[in-house]
Subunit: 339 residues, 4 copies
């Protein structure tokens, strides 16, 4: 791969997420092409690959990664398959964009971390795409500027119109609040040290057995307090809001006001109905940033450390949900490699 | 009347507006009482007076104004009856709050102006109640502070859900836009020198024969340009908005955001359905300010000059509507008495 | 007192709060007058009384309450003096508007409750004035309408530009969060059953020794979760915001948007700098509602039970602050008298 | 060119606009590459071309268009050079994205229109990029849906922090209001039939001799009335706002609320300082849409008819500015080719 050549990407996983990334690289992203699609289901891989000029279908990730025209790997397979795919990519020294979660638990994340460190240089960007959302980036830039002083609290709202079938109480933490865990760590540049979960009487909209909504609280090693309303059956739409309360002011994002109508006795606007509407731009920017960095020979964005730390906070969060009270987060010391 | 005694008020006119003022003085206003209610219809006057301790019903305004317990007059009868009531109040040297319009045309307003000047001191406050609205007052204070520099343009929106039956195209000017005429003169402290009216194809909501909405344009002697969307069958509610565009910034009022909901796929709030909801506070403050000033022996607020100037602009506006093009406003020179 | 006569009010306490109520009754309120001003400091009482026609100064509350022209009592003295003044008012069977707190602790509130019950009818309205704020009333009406379904969470922000000198960590609960306790109980029509307090590293704006800001959490007997950001040295102004998260939507208040400017590279508006600017209307409406009800021979508004229950939650809150963890609230069973 | 091959683009003009398009095609756009850069100044063309793999510098547009690897042309040279470049592209039957204005006046636009018709199929997309702005597209979709009924009025604000040196009063129309002309025609799907211009006393911020701001009024053949505040020295930033007033409601765009702060006594956000910040996304989407359509063998977007009609409205606008009063727009009958 020359520095300015087109990046050949192998997409691992041809499900909903993988197919969306294939479409994105083909139609939206500049400087990359899909060279390989990998799926255990050969039919599914072939259907996706057939739509793309010069793209080959595989069932074996290792075979795809060994191909001449593959310069980088995008992992969008189910979480339990990530560890093996990552280790294979490391063998080929291929840069990886790995959808979140890095791996399903902290122990496996630690193994990936050790393997990456053995390569001697970073290879992995983890798919915490909120870091590429325009509004979150403005908030981050403002916090980093120091204009508002030190952050004291961070209030978050995370609402979905309805949870998909099969969604469990633990998934509220592992699939949903995991985003606020990453956002908290990134915005504040602090680690989360304890988690508490308060559970109101569930909403009538929540499926039988799902304790929804919940109020999830983080404490950080920088002395900040973070609250997250997670509310995955709110009924009215998809909303992600954040407000950082700092020593000299507050800043908030997440108010959608792009089209306001006055009609039938009401003023206001529509609420996005899913994360695609709210975060499509963030996904695009995430992949473009990864392609651009990879073509420059760099690895940027959320690291394996971020994937590991978030997995550890998730484990504490799920325990806090089920046991009640405050649960401390246990992290290994951060390797110099990830500083 | 001692300075701190309770002000006895005669309310002339027991229709909707008069009855509302009677209720206001009885229930809301501090330092005043309704001593007399006057209406040509003796039954209507009596019904209203009976609800108030120590209040007498009259059919003759002159008789009411001669009564011992009447210290001041509030005129809320139909416009054509104003001139006679004002002249009678002048004979008794009674302070007056006169509902707008002062009189139906500029010629009669001039006669009232001459009569008031003969008394040697101001007696009349004209009921342009927007000057007592909290938002307009903030805007006025900001403009007067000079922070924004000189006003260059003023954009206005004036919308009603539906026009009352019998509402004519001329009433768009005389009953509705008259408020923006007063607001323009007051906010900018400038006289209106010309009026132009642009008429789109009428809305399907407008009753047969009513040319609604319209875009009404003023030029002022201070070189400002003012536009007014008058739209009295907008269907969705009552809205009054203004934006002053100045040399160093703009300022706007009229966004109602006191309760915001997220529900059924939409965020936003309700729109007021009539002027009472929007301007109830302004009516209260107007009458309280008049009572307070009268008890101090002062006359403040919009003057007979304001009533006259607005009548002259209305006459130009109605001509501009019917004849098209730009119509100049003709005003007498402002008497020193009204400076 | 005849039903429609002017209500003669004795104001107990001539400090800042008392003086403000004297001015309010004199200048704003309809149907009431200040007949008596009581203060331990005879000079202070006299100075205030001298400005009002027919108003007498007293140093002894009992003497004032025994006066012919006193029909009702407004208690605005320091909290520790409330119990004695209330019991004296009960002896004279006088209706009372008692500034919050009813009394400084739950035990004394219980004694007042018993004494009032012995009179056989309610005499006391407690001064939780947020219930008279226009925005909170809209929110309450919306929740009561059932349109949004059952409330699940209530998020609150309570910010002051700076705390007065001598403000202690306990006063964050007793003087500030006490308002959210009342608001929670009133909006949700539920009792608070437990309090948890999370304390971030204090802001650099907080005076030495003051743990500010804090995140205070309530659980209610209806299964709702409530969070309160209390932040009394936020530096930028006075803000009170609330968002009710319900089964079918959310509703929020506290966004001040009455005048928006575009200037010097920024759009937006000013933030109120103290509670007077934000809640002046609520104080006026509270006193007017009390005067109107009293003249009708009724007692409405927050009751002694509300004063007691709030005192009990405050006690739990202060313990949660100092001891950490979750503290349960202990209430006696609610007497039928207060249902 | 195969349907899915990468589109080779010749960019004509290596000034600010051309350089920005070269960067865009190189870094942002998917499916296209810059094969040629053309500029009269060989050094300028070379500097730009040197940064791009496989890109050749030219001084003669015809030579570039004759090159093997040029599939399409993007014209970003000064307006007076457009006609010749367009006619050359027509000779090579190359699809063109032509920056606005199509040509400097209606007469030359007519000549281009005739030449394109002779080719028998559309080749040109005109660079009215607001049609690709996300907010304008939402507004267009809402109007087209019919939910709001027929549009009656369109209010527009177009503000720049400061005008570039050499900006003339006529350029207010030709360079700035030209966008609202296109937006009006596109949003309403109506032609503009008359223009009126009202000029307040110029702002102290306007350079000597520039009559700024102005209120520009359009009438349309569908009976709508449109007003445009054009204000190119407003001092505080770049703003483009629009409100469509329809029979059943209104809709507005242009309120930037992506990051709101509370700080130093004020709430609000920053105002974009130039059109790049506001419309960068629109430029990207415009070029991507052109590349995508071209690769599919289609021509979409604003046509030569749109370029001609806007030029005719500009001519009327400049006359209305200088002569005062209402000036009618004269258009040829719309050829069937452009329906």
């Amino acid at each position: 791969m020359t520095q300015r050549g087109t990046l050949g990407v192998a997409v691992i996983g041809a499900g909903r997420m993988g197919a969306d990334h294939v479409r994105r690289i083909d139609e939206v992203i500049s400087g990359a092409r899909v060279s390989a699609v990998v799926d255990l289901d050969p039919e599914r891989a072939k259907r996706l690959a057939d739509g793309i000029d010069g793209c080959t279908a595989y069932t074996d990730p290792a075979a795809a990664m060994a191909a001449e025209d593959v310069d980088a790997v995008l992992i969008a397979s189910p979480g339990p398959a990530h560890e093996a795919a990552l280790l294979t990519a490391f063998e080929h020294d291929l840069p990886v964009l790995c959808e979140k979660p890095l791996t399903p638990d902290a122990a496996s994340a630690l193994r990936v971390m050790e393997a990456e460190q053995k390569r001697g240089h970073r290879l992995v960007q983890v798919g915490f795409m909120r870091r590429y959302d325009a509004e979150y980036r403005k908030l981050k830039a403002l916090l980093d500027s120091g204009q508002l002083g030190r952050p004291l609290m961070l209030h978050n709202r995370h609402r979905n119109a309805a949870s998909p079938s099969g969604f469990t109480t633990a998934m509220l933490i592992n699939d949903s609040v995991v985003h606020e865990m990453d956002v908290t760590r990134w915005l504040l540049d602090q680690e989360i040290t304890a988690v508490t979960v308060l559970r109101p009487t569930p909403s009538e909209n929540a499926p039988e057995g799902l304790s929804d909504p919940q109020l999830v609280l983080f404490e950080t090693d920088g002395g900040a307090i973070v609250d997250v309303e997670i509310n995955v059956n709110c009924g009215f739409g998809y909303q992600v809001k954040a407000e950082a309360v700092c020593e000299r002011g507050t800043a908030r994002i997440g108010e959608e006001q792009s089209l306001v109508t006055d009609m039938a006795g009401r003023w206001g606007g529509t609420i996005a109905q899913d994360f695609v509407e709210r975060f499509a731009g963030a996904y695009d920017r995430q992949v473009q940033a990864w392609v651009d960095a990879t073509r420059r020979g760099e690895v940027t964005g959320p690291s394996v450390w971020d994937g590991y730390a978030t997995a550890a906070v998730c484990e504490a969060g799920v325990r806090a949900q089920s046991e009640g009270g405050r649960v401390e987060v246990e992290l290994i010391e951060r390797p110099a490699f990830y500083r």
